[in-house]
Symmetry: C2
Subunit: 199 residues, 2 copies
């Protein structure tokens, strides 16, 4: 799921910035695959709960699996929303040239966060789980940069583009939030403690 | 949790429309209460899973409880976001007079949906679970009405207010989505079938 989500977000960003309708359609179609994997994964998790009667840390891991699959499914939805906006504005682009670089950075920052999150899930890599907190701060900086640009006196793209950019910035930021949430769950599973709140 | 969420959203809407700073602060503070209840509820749910070793429908109900508490917690966050926007724009109001009625309707529609959702949770009221789907369609109509107003040639409130309204409309809509999701989970628990998709 995490690698499909990573691809979906990267492709959605490319589709958005290059007005690639085919790629946008691909992301939109493949969201159903992510949903299907979630349903199968959750069914297996619940089946294990019923058959193995787990307690303590095994049960906590299974409960965390249900929560993480919900986060990943939602991240897929957010990539789908980005792709749908790319499709809606085709053959134009939703993102004006002045903001293309910042959206590209948001996409790359989200990609970096998701890649680290995958490593946290796969290898229970606690050091990386803590790095994600700082990466998420970068995302917040990029988000504020977008809003500052929209509010500048020389904003020349009107309200529709401002609405698009407001939603896009939020989709990337929420996607990162879900990745942070997953990293924190793994951190808790491994250490039994909550990750230190960000400074 | 559902009655606290219902109050939080109603108070956030009033704070927003009447620039009531004290009420906005109250909603923001009480979000922590909703989060605490979620943690306690989930701890009890996981404890039941470990001690009672439930299978079949009992296990499904407990898993659904974990998912519904996550939806309710997120609904509380969305009310908190609305209250924070009211606070940010104080002593002004985020909502221009032309849109106050529509935001008020979004708040009332969300309140109606949350009240029905509470009844669905408490009484496993399946008929009401189906009604919520239609109520959510009303919410989508109100959302489109907001966006149409923002895009009209005579929109005279500039980009900052357009950004505020875009996010507000999304917060109300997402809140309703989570309530729909909870109603569908209860429907599935009671009937073993998924609620019919909306026409």
């Amino acid at each position: 799921m995490s690698s499909l989500v990573q691809d979906a977000l990267a492709h959605a960003t490319t589709a958005l910035l290059t007005a690639d309708l085919g790629l946008a359609e691909k992301v939109i179609q493949e969201d159903a695959t992510i949903d299907t994997i979630q349903h199968e994964l959750d069914a297996r998790t619940i089946n294990l709960m019923a058959r193995q009667q787990p307690v303590a840390s095994d049960l906590r891991a299974l409960v965390s699996s249900l929560r993480m699959s919900a986060d990943l499914e939602r991240m897929g939805d957010l990539a789908d929303h980005i792709a749908k906006l790319a499709r809606k504005r085709f053959p134009g682009t939703a993102v004006p040239p002045e903001l293309a670089l910042t959206i590209d950075e948001m996409g790359r920052t989200a990609g970096k966060i998701i890649a680290k999150m995958s490593s946290v899930i796969e290898h229970r890599d606690i050091a990386r789980a803590l790095e994600i907190e700082a990466d998420d701060d970068e995302m917040d900086v990029l988000h504020r940069k977008i809003i500052t640009t929209l509010l500048a006196d020389d904003w020349g793209y009107g309200v529709e583009t401002a609405i698009d950019m407001t939603l896009l910035a939020r989709f990337y930021e929420r996607c990162a939030d879900h990745a942070v949430s997953i990293a924190r769950r793994v951190y808790f599973l491994v250490t039994g403690e909550y990750a230190a709140p960000r400074a």
